[in-house]
Amino acid sequence: MSNVTSERRSGGLLPSHARPGRWQRLGRNKTPYLFLAPFMIGFAVFMIFPLIYVLNLSVFRTKIIGGKTFVGLENYVKAFQDPSFWEGVRNVLTFGLIQIPIMLGLALLAALLLDSAVIRRQTLFRLGFFLPFAVPTVVAALMWGYLYGQAFGPIAQIARALGLDPPEFLTSGTIIPAIANISTWQFTGYNMLILFAALKAVPHELFEAARVDGASGIQIALRIRIPLIAPAIVLTGIFSIIGTLQLFNEPSVLRAVAPTIIPPNFTPNLYVYNLAFQNRQFDYSAAISFSLAAITALLSSLVLFFAYRRRLLR
């Protein structure tokens, strides 16, 4: 009997007037929303709204004769059967297969060298590696377009001065490596910086312990440092895949120098641009944009899955 009353009492330990009301709870919790608001508003206006707008565009088709009609997924079906689109996808994938390993390999090597005591004047080297990233992509492409030039480029001029045939950089067979070279030049420093920051976060006691155990510098790099910064490497890998699939500036600028080498569908983004602003097929180009986003998401997920396969399957 007394137990029951005590339970009741304990159940009502808090006087009802002291309980936070609905309004009060919101009042207490609204501070984080206020702080989030500037971002959320920007996100909604500049991300969510355009996405819905484009998605809406992509399910219509505007004909010269017949006007605008709802076509559902027809544009997407067309996109997945469009050889011009897939040729662009194939180009960027080829580009990625060549460029990403080279760039990340160089970035990793540079980061390891900078983090070890091998190199003096670290800041200078770090800045030097990073500097190309500060050059706008369009300017970089213009600059390389000049360097690659057949009749007026300095490389061609040097070759001619030496009595050699100037090397051709902008031909059908060499255009992908030529663009890969520009991207590598530009983004190696950026990736190096991410990897370098990750290396800095690794406790140095680990290396010292390894050294005491008699591990060489290379062994420490391969067995300790690289495994420890693996998440950062995966991150740079995913950034690179996304960047690769969205390749646009370099081919777009180089088209002025090599119009017969770079077609309007050289990369999917270039294709989207030309469909929308040259052909005025806004609806179809919207569908291609979404298809490209789907492919990017799929590839990124695949990389993540393989990178963390063991952890996921455990």
Binding site: K63, S84, L142, G149, F152, A258, T260
Partner: protein
Amino acid sequence: MQRRTFQPAVPGLAAVFLLAGTLAACGGTTASPSSASASASAPSASASAPSASASAPSASASAAGPATEITFWSWVPGIQKQVDEFNASHPNIKVKYLNAGAGNAEYTALKTALQTNTGVPDVVQIEYQHLPSFISHGDLANLVTLGANDIKGQFVDWTWAQVSQGDGVYAYPQDAGPMIMMCNKALLGKYSVVVPTTWDELVQASTKLHAADKKVYLTNFTADQGHFFGLLWQSGAKPFQVDGQNIKINFTSPEVTRVAKLWDGLLKSGNLSPIDTYTPDWNTALAKQTIACWTAGAWGPSLIESAAPDLKNDWQVYQMPQWDASKPINGNYGGSTIAVTKASAHQQEAEAFDRWLNTDPKITLDLTGGDANLFPATKATLSTPSWTDVKPAFWGGQQTHKVMAEGAQQVDVAFGWSPFTDFVYTTYAEELTAVKAGTITFEKAMQDLQDKSTAYAKDQGFTVLP
């Protein structure tokens, strides 16, 4: 076509920047200088959009007194002068001029204005190849009801055919680009190569010249769409025939095939320079005399003059090489029309200005000079001695305008464009990349163009007739 302002590049870094500037100004039209013509003088379309919408066609001319206000979009350099003259001599009409960008930049602004029905200009410049697209969309006023046929006889016949569809007339021709061939005569003479007058001779000449000097080529390979369609036109081909919602597409006719085979042969022979027209390399090649000839519109000479200023008196203008020397045909490459929009609230005044601008003898002659540098589209100006007898300094005393005027009379009247030139041009550029890479022949590219254009036309709701 005011090609003169399509800045030919000085060899060097500046060249690349110049070209990229051109690119930016044209909203990314790369291989198409036909729309890039006056880009250097064109501010971006977006910058001019606000002022365009501010001057939406309306009867609110209260501030300007009784004068009816109309807006005019054009990218002809220095045309403000002609607009001022019109306003001075026509007190009851006030034309407000706006440069809304050159070629594609202007069309993008125009399309946006048409879509939202705000700020649509009353009078607007449109290139020949893009006119059918605007006609099909129903954007342009039929000028026949405003008396267009009264001035029909004043224009060169083929230019009139270009602005007509069925019984309607949808613009007045402003300028033209009849094709010509320009050759470095001194260079050809050095290797005793005769200037070709037929395409067969051109093939032989290119073999002979390249054999004589491995560094020198007669001409080059280009992906430029305007150039290619000019060549088809010059071959007597009729790739598109439009009649309302019906369209005939033919990229497999003998007239098309012989052009394709010619370039296939030249490509295979290795006697063709791989440098594309309008690139910095091309400018260098002209200056260094490794490319001897160029076929282009009548606006071409100014580009040669600025690419190779040191070669004064070496170059000459010739008629196009012919397929059948006994039946000479010419094609057109470039040029614009001036149309009146259907959305205009003052079509009558707009037509009056359009008519004055393109038929007034003084004005059409003035526009052939100065910054505009237009090639005339009226019969009167084409035969005016003060124009025909000009001997431009660079061309060694040759009366170049006479050669061009003769070529202008030979342009095939029956050539027509599709209502979706943008698509055709993009597809052509795609195909030509494969041709250049050697994965397909030019002839195959034509078959692809046939198939893809047919599919697109059906997709756009046209009935494709066999």
